[in-house]
């Protein structure tokens, strides 16, 4: 752009980029039609039934994982209870060829993408830093530094564009992660490159103990998108239909060469940060009770029952399926980890260096000597 053109340039399309001031909603907390649908497309009934099923299974997985952490079978578990709609709906909105970039709190999302339940918990169990093959279901390793995966997603998505492949990357972030530099760099790069990325910020109110008011002075997190030229949506994150529709819209825009989308989903972390955290030190019980009344599963269930899309028999079968999942997970997690110490040296470089081979031999000799 010439300098003259820069001087002439005004602010053409801020309105196109801005999110709504209140969260978009397709289904209200009582299961009735939502008050603020915006331009979102209401999902088909079979999609809604699928969302409900996977939320019930995900919730049971999450509850079981919390118990396993208390029993010492997991090193730690950060629950996503309360964020079930985000975890499930965003992932089900993806197409097979798309990629998911999750954080440590997104185990239910990883599970929903199709990763085996025990492999999903590999990182948190402590078997290895990632328990699954990222290429099998196109799920990047769960990232623990909050926002580093966002730039990976932008790179992966832009590589798809450069190679003329139809692939979109979905990045999961939390409200705290929006303060990290990598969120800024990722949104900026994605905007400049028109990379096919959907950023989903699960605003669950807290970054461990720090509430949103201490995290940002922005009017909403979705409002940050305009600064990067990235169109943004603000949605009710406990409304699975709205989250699904919003992510779907982002994927369609990205796949149609329309570039990235930023979505902020307002939700709540019902459990503490992890099983090692004491949430009573920074928030009151009545706050949690208020959010329990906005439970995403109960909301969708009420909608489905009102529309004759779910009955007691189907709900019963689903509950049994969830119990089976939990039982299988318990069985698999209640066995001791059988790790191969020699493997520690295998994936540092494509081929172990001579020095690493010497260290491996030394460790194996040490173990042999120590063996009874």
């Amino acid at each position: 752009m010439t300098n003259k053109a820069r001087l002439r340039k005004t602010t053409p399309d801020i309105d196109r980029l801005l999110p709504s001031t209140t969260p978009l909603q397709l289904i209200a907390p009582d299961g009735q039609p939502g008050q603020n649908p915006g331009g979102l497309t209401f999902p088909e009934p079979d999609v809604l039934v699928g969302l409900h099923r996977r939320m019930v299974l995900g919730r049971r997985f999450d509850t079981q994982a919390t118990v396993l952490a208390r029993q010492g079978r997991l090193a730690v578990y950060p629950s996503s209870r309360g964020q079930d709609a985000c975890q499930v709906a965003a992932v089900l909105a993806l197409r097979d060829q798309d990629w998911l970039f999750p954080t440590y709190r997104d185990s239910v999302a990883v599970l929903t993408r199709g990763v085996d339940a025990a492999e999903t918990l590999g990182l948190l169990r402590g078997d290895w830093h990632c328990g699954y093959d990222p290429y099998e279901h196109r799920v990047a390793p769960q990232c623990t530094p909050l926002a580093t995966q966002a730039v990976h997603a932008v790179g992966l998505a832009y590589a798809a564009t450069l190679q003329a492949r139809d692939q979109v990357a979905l990045v999961l972030l939390g409200d705290g992660a929006t303060s990290e530099g990598d969120t800024h760099e990722a949104l900026n790069l994605a905007g400049v490159w028109k990379a096919p990325v959907v950023f989903l910020v699960q605003n669950n109110g807290y970054a461990i103990s720090v509430p949103l008011a201490k995290q940002t002075a922005a009017p909403t997190l979705a409002a940050k998108g305009v600064g990067y030229g990235v169109p943004s949506l603000l949605v009710d994150g406990n409304d699975a239909a709205a989250v699904y529709a919003a992510v779907r819209a982002g994927i369609e825009r990205a796949a149609g060469s329309g570039g990235p989308t930023l979505i902020e989903a307002i939700t709540y972390r019902v459990e503490a940060h992890t099983n090692a955290d004491d949430a009573t030190r920074y928030r009151a019980d009545d706050e949690i009770r208020g959010w329990l009344e906005r439970d995403p599963i109960a909301r969708l269930e009420a909608y489905l029952r009102a529309g004759q899309l779910l009955d007691d028999a189907a709900a019963g079968r689903l509950e049994a399926e969830a119990e089976q999942l939990a039982a299988r997970l318990r069985d698999r997690m209640n066995t001791d980890v059988s790790a191969d110490p020699a493997e520690l040296f295998e994936h540092v470089y494509a081929r172990p260096t001579a020095a690493l081979e010497r260290q491996r031999e030394a460790l194996l000799a040490e173990l042999e000597e120590a063996a009874p």
Partner: protein
């Protein structure tokens, strides 16, 4: 002078006559030939497209290969390296430029926590053939933050390869090797040698990426150097002839992994060793070299292993940097302290 240059040209390419070439030109050729040889290679970073890089290492590449292969980015080092990681996950071979050593620090988390570890984290399922080019070191009269020797930050990170060329021909070879390598490589370019010339044939065939090279054979003492200090060490070796010291110069090339074999073979033969680097001495790369040699060659040593390094101070302003940098005199002084009176030289 080197084994690199005595090798025949790669099969399939026309044999070239040796010609004078700068390190900058050799690096440019290596990038162009890599882009030509492998369509997965992409080159990006700050100012590398239209401008051709602030040191012109990418000069002409965007025009020749197009903006889908060679492109400018926003000023975002963490984003550049992070995006390279994602691109490598999706089938590309990114070669990114950090404009200056100290300006690479915003990318440190992406380099050390992700680039270096993803292969390990995923049990070898995700390979990241990423090259990060970093102009490093001083000696060019740069103002603050333009002259750091940052190698030890990277060599302390398992999973990274860290290499640095000492000559133009090796700059070509090493960069070709780095781009072909399945592991992530931090490629440190000694910017004070960008414009130094060598008469050479540029060839992608030569010692493998992880091997050190004896640049000058000698019997009395081994100078161990890398990057910008290779030339200084060779100058010192020539000056030492007057003192009747026959000095061997080893160019490490690969700082990580370390080529124990070549270096210990040399030091076991000469019995004396001196490590030379620009970086501050305390907890610097030379400490690792000295420790390894002590462990592996102790019974061959006639004297303690000494280091000639930068001072343990923040890198000085341009008018004072000559006081900081190792030079021929300091190397000769150090050689003189290698207990010759009790030795057999």
């Amino acid at each position: 002078m080197t084994t690199v240059m005595s090798r025949p040209a790669a099969s399939g390419t026309a044999p070239q006559a040796p010609a004078p070439v700068t390190m900058a030109a050799a690096l440019n050729r290596a990038l162009a030939d890599s882009l030509e040889a492998d369509e997965r290679v992409v080159v990006f970073g700050e100012d590398v497209g239209t401008l051709g890089g602030v040191f012109r290492i990418t000069d002409g590449l965007a025009g020749r290969f197009g903006e889908r292969r060679v492109f400018d980015t926003p000023i975002a080092e963490s984003g550049i390296v992070g995006a390279a990681i994602g691109m490598a996950m999706n089938g590309l071979v990114p070669v990114v430029e950090m404009q200056f050593d100290a300006f690479a620090y915003p990318a440190f988390e992406q380099v050390t926590s992700h680039l270096a570890k993803l292969c390990n984290r995923t049990r070898g399922r995700v390979a990241l053939p990423v090259v990060i080019r970093v102009p490093f070191g001083g000696g060019i009269g740069g103002v603050e933050h333009h002259s750091d020797s940052s190698e030890a930050y990277y060599t302390h990170t398992p999973g990274l390869r860290v290499v640095t060329p000492g000559t133009p021909a090796d700059a070509y070879l090493l960069l070709r090797e780095a781009i072909r390598c399945p592991d992530p490589v931090v490629f440190l370019e000694p910017k004070r040698r960008y414009w130094s010339k060598e008469t050479a044939v540029l060839t992608p065939e030569g010692p493998p990426i992880d091997r050190a090279v004896v640049r000058r054979a000698g019997r009395d003492v081994t100078l161990i150097a890398y990057g910008g200090m290779v030339t200084t060490a060779l100058e010192a070796a020539e000056a030492a002839v007057e003192e009747n010291w026959d000095v061997e110069v080893v160019d490490l090339r690969s700082l990580s992994p370390f080529d124990d074999q070549t270096v210990t073979e040399s030091v076991s033969r000469t019995g004396r060793a001196l490590v030379v680097h620009e970086a501050a001495g305390f907890a610097g790369y030379g400490a690792e070299v000295a420790a390894r040699l002590t462990e592996q060659c102790f019974h061959y040593l006639e004297a303690p292993i000494l280091r000639v390094t930068g001072l343990d101070i923040p890198y000085p302003p341009p008018h004072l940097e000559h006081l900081y940098l190792p030079n021929v005199d300091r190397i000769l002084d150090a050689i003189a302290r290698l207990q010759w009176e009790s030795g057999d030289a």
